[in-house]
């Protein structure tokens, strides 16, 4: 039990004195992304190999949180040199131990190689993916074993809490957060300090603070990475917030789909209690505060704060109208302050380094950094933390390294299911709360999904409306019915049943759903529809008027056809066809039976580039199969010889 700030500092020094900064340390990302690519086996291999090579106890292997470079996982960083190895497998481990740990030699093949210059990069922070970021929050993940509170303390953890409890009044804390101009990272972008002040000033003896970790946007996982990778930073922010508004009980609401986040935050709470950082008389200050973890049960709408509160009370999460806001009437009818994971993670930084430090990052009205999850048709999938105001182009091309497979960029979707799509011509806008909204999208929680020429924008709108229709709680009819009808029209368009007037009808429905719905889910549901109509109206028109999908994506408007002139009869597509729709044989031209074809596209993907025989047709009749007797392929070499003979 730590009973004073001095004792906390003493413990910190003791932890640091036990650690030799010059000694070799191996950090392996054990975030959910890297674990899925086999990080667990790599960690086990390191443990076994170190023992085998007599280094057990000498070299520490640390399972850390996610540093963000998911594309090249499992990620291994070896300190003190900060050597970064990517896509490490267990069979690389013996060499890493004998060469890099023992002989201090770098293994070239495991390093990052620049795609164009082929130059190798040794240090993690020099890799272009990281170099263009400002990693105030996520940067600590690779330095911390999230299951070990001492790691967080070694980095100065809980010093902001000590400062608040012993040197600041609750009013001063609120003022500092207000001065930082921190805005909510969960999507709303509401000024955090003002929210805190409202809860602080609300009358009532019992108050609550809540971490909203119900990160439900598909394609967004930054909150999970922070909660999994650095849970104590969230707890520290939460305790500071509790002190500022006068709450003695808090909740962390985590979706149950994040088992590792649940585990790590639960361990963190237990460890903080053991150290006297949570519970009664925290650090000897006389302030009491306890935290409980609550699992969400799979409902997207529970990310909305009034729905989340009902869910915490054990009820179905159906939003209610505001006001009253949770700041005055929240959990069990008491004043409650709810902030997103990333918002809480910013708080200790603001307290320790000051509001002035924080406001140096960002734009006039959006301060600080923001973590985005950059996914989809992008070379470097991962989490990127950048100062507000960076352009979309920089994020996609400098950090994300552009679009894979030589394809053309089409749009980037930001803001989750209720966000919008931004086309090429707007890529130079500065990313902040207001600019994204102006472009017809929104910041949301930070999902950034990149789409290329093969992505159909009508299908994207249909996808999001399908998602929202499923997740609509059904309480208010504008959302329940409006979203469903918009989805139905979009499905008709993508399946070839679109008709003149559908676009106008969609715009009409979008207007009424958006203005009449009860909560943010319904109010922002029109965004995917309106933003795609605004920027990609020609795609809607092609579907409706010509029954043509310009991206060759909508299956009902698409046929696959093998060009008999080009087919090399290589048997590849025939063998891999998932619906046994291709007939043919060795030296026999392959033919797709259109009635059997399920349009999975395997044949198109797999046909060797030297033939390029499989064609996608949309709004074009499929030529009939060539007669059986003409299906013999004359092998190219023979054909060439034949041609040469004729020429001579």
């Amino acid at each position: 039990m730590i009973n004073s700030p001095a004792e906390l500092e003493h413990l910190r020094q003791e932890i640091l004195s036990r650690r030799d900064p010059d000694k070799a340390r191996i950090s392996v990302c054990a975030g959910a992304g890297c674990l899925a690519t086999g990080a667990g086996k790599v960690i086990a291999a390191f443990d076994a190999e170190l023992e085998k090579q007599g280094l057990k106890g000498e070299v520490h292997v640390k399972s850390t949180g996610c540093p963000g470079f998911c594309e090249r996982g499992p990620v291994v960083v070896i300190d003190p040199e900060e050597t970064c190895y990517l896509q490490v497998t267990p069979k690389d481990v013996p060499a890493i131990v004998s060469k890099t740990i023992k002989e201090k030699k770098v293994i070239d093949r495991l390093l990052y190689a620049d795609a164009t210059t082929k130059e190798k990069v040794v240090r993690e922070s020099d890799i272009p993916f990281y170099k263009h970021q400002e990693r105030n929050i996520i940067g600590n993940n690779i330095k911390i074993d999230p299951k070990c509170i001492d790691d967080y303390l070694a980095l100065g953890g809980y010093s902001a809490l000590a400062k608040v409890l012993f040197q600041m009044t609750s009013g001063q804390v609120v003022e500092e957060v207000k001065k930082s101009k921190l805005r909510g990272r969960g999507g709303g972008g509401f000024p955090t300090g003002i929210k805190w002040e409202a809860a602080r000033n609300a009358p009532g003896d019992a108050k609550y603070v809540i971490v909203n970790a119900d990160e439900g946007d598909p394609g967004a996982f930054m909150d999970r990475a922070v909660l999994e990778g650095n849970p104590h930073s969230i707890l520290e922010g939460l305790i500071i917030g509790a002190y500022a508004i006068g709450a003695h009980e808090g909740y962390v609401y985590v979706r149950q789909e994040y088992p590792l986040a649940l585990e790590n935050v639960s361990i963190a709470i237990r460890q903080a209690e053991e150290y006297g950082i949570l519970g009664s008389n925290i650090l000897g200050s006389g302030f009491d505060f306890t935290v409980t973890v609550h699992r969400g049960a799979g409902a997207f709408v529970c990310g909305e704060e009034t729905a989340l509160l009902l869910s915490l009370e054990g009820r179905p999460g159906e939003p209610r109208s505001r006001p009253p806001y949770p700041a005055t009437k929240g959990l069990w009818g008491k004043p409650t302050n709810i902030n997103n994971v990333e918002t809480w993670a910013n708080v200790p930084l603001i307290i320790n380094k000051g509001a002035d430090w924080f406001t140096q990052f960002g734009t006039e009205r959006s301060k600080g950094t923001k973590i985005f999850s950059l996914v989809g048709k992008i070379k470097n999938t991962g989490l990127v933390e950048v100062p507000m105001g960076v352009t979309l182009r920089d994020i996609i091309y400098k950090i994300g390294d552009g679009i894979p497979g030589g394809k053309k960029f089409k749009a980037v979707q930001t803001g989750g299911p209720a966000g919008g799509c931004i086309p090429e011509e707007h890529l130079d806008i500065a990313v902040d709360f207001d600019e994204l909204t102006k472009a017809g999208a929104m910041m949301g929680s930070g999902g950034m999904i990149v789409m290329d020429e093969d992505t159909c924008m009508v299908d994207v709108a249909r996808y999001f409306l399908n998602f929202l229709a499923q997740e609509s709680c059904g309480k208010c009819s504008p959302c329940r019915e409006g979203v469903k009808q918009m989805h139905r029209i979009l499905a008709d368009i993508t399946e070839g049943r679109g008709k003149e007037g559908d676009i106008e009808l969609l715009e009409d429905l979008a207007m009424s759903t958006g203005s009449a719905s009860l909560c943010a889910l319904g109010r922002s549901a029109p965004n995917p529809v309106l933003s795609t109509i605004r920027h990609f109206r020609h795609e809607y028109e092609a579907h409706i008027r010509e029954k043509r999908c310009p991206s060759f994506s909508c299956k009902e408007l698409l046929s696959y056809y093998i060009d008999p002139e080009a087919c090399g009869a290589c048997l590849l597509c025939l063998k891999r066809c998932t619906s046994e729709a291709i007939s043919g044989g060795r030296d026999q031209i392959h033919v797709i039976d259109q009635a059997k074809c399920n349009k999975c596209g395997t044949c198109f993907d797999i046909c060797p580039a030297r033939y390029g025989a499989v064609m996608r047709l949309s709004a074009e009749p499929v030529p009939g199969p060539i007669p059986e007797e003409l299906r013999i392929v004359v092998k190219r070499k023979e054909a060439k010889k034949e041609a040469q003979r004729e020429a001579t």
């Binding site: 899925a36 690519t37 439900g216 054990g314 179905p316 996914v375 991962g382 999904i449």
Partner: protein, 163 residues
């Protein structure tokens, strides 16, 4: 869909004990209803009717509210699950990378649609909205193992590994 007989299977004595323990762990608090149902779901992989009745009785919460809750949240299943649970990620990143084509092939092979279990109780199929490993997309999870970078025929081959 599983056969009606399967759905009506009574829960065993062991399950009754497990359910009682779960409810006691949460001190019979009505506000813990979701947490209790999640624990039962994790233990039994579904919520049998008898289990819901036990919860209703012990928590003094009407059955109507329990059903409202159990059908509102997607984590709960009111039908038994097959031996292997397939979750196909339909998150946005997986969607643009071709998850619908993968799902369709899996539907064709297993003969079931999301939310269903085949008559042999071999597979249960579900879609999820994001597994959060977008670098692996399209990705699915079978019995909690992540299988990534899927294309339709790779997914079809992978299913052959399950008995």
């Amino acid at each position: 869909m599983p056969s009606p007989e399967a759905q009506e299977t009574e829960i065993g004595i062991m399950d009754t004990g497990t359910i009682e323990q779960i409810i006691d762990k949460h001190q019979c608090e009505a506000s813990s209803l979701i947490q209790i149902l999640l624990d039962i779901q994790n233990e039994l992989h579904w919520l049998p009717w008898e289990a819901l009745e036990m919860v209703s009785e012990k928590l003094q919460v009407p059955m109507s509210r329990i059903q409202h809750t159990a059908t509102f949240y997607k984590a709960f299943s009111l039908v038994p699950k097959g031996r292997h649970e397939i979750n196909v990620c339909m998150g946005t990143a997986c969607h643009v990378r071709g998850a619908p084509r993968v799902l369709e092939v899996i539907e064709n092979i297993t003969g079931i649609r999301p939310g269903e279990t085949d008559p042999d109780m071999k597979f249960s199929l579900d879609t999820v909205n994001c597994l959060g490993c977008c670098a692996l997309g399209p990705v699915m999870e079978i019995d909690e193992e992540h299988l990534g970078k899927l294309v339709p025929n790779k997914a079809a081959d992978l299913l052959k590994n399950y008995e």
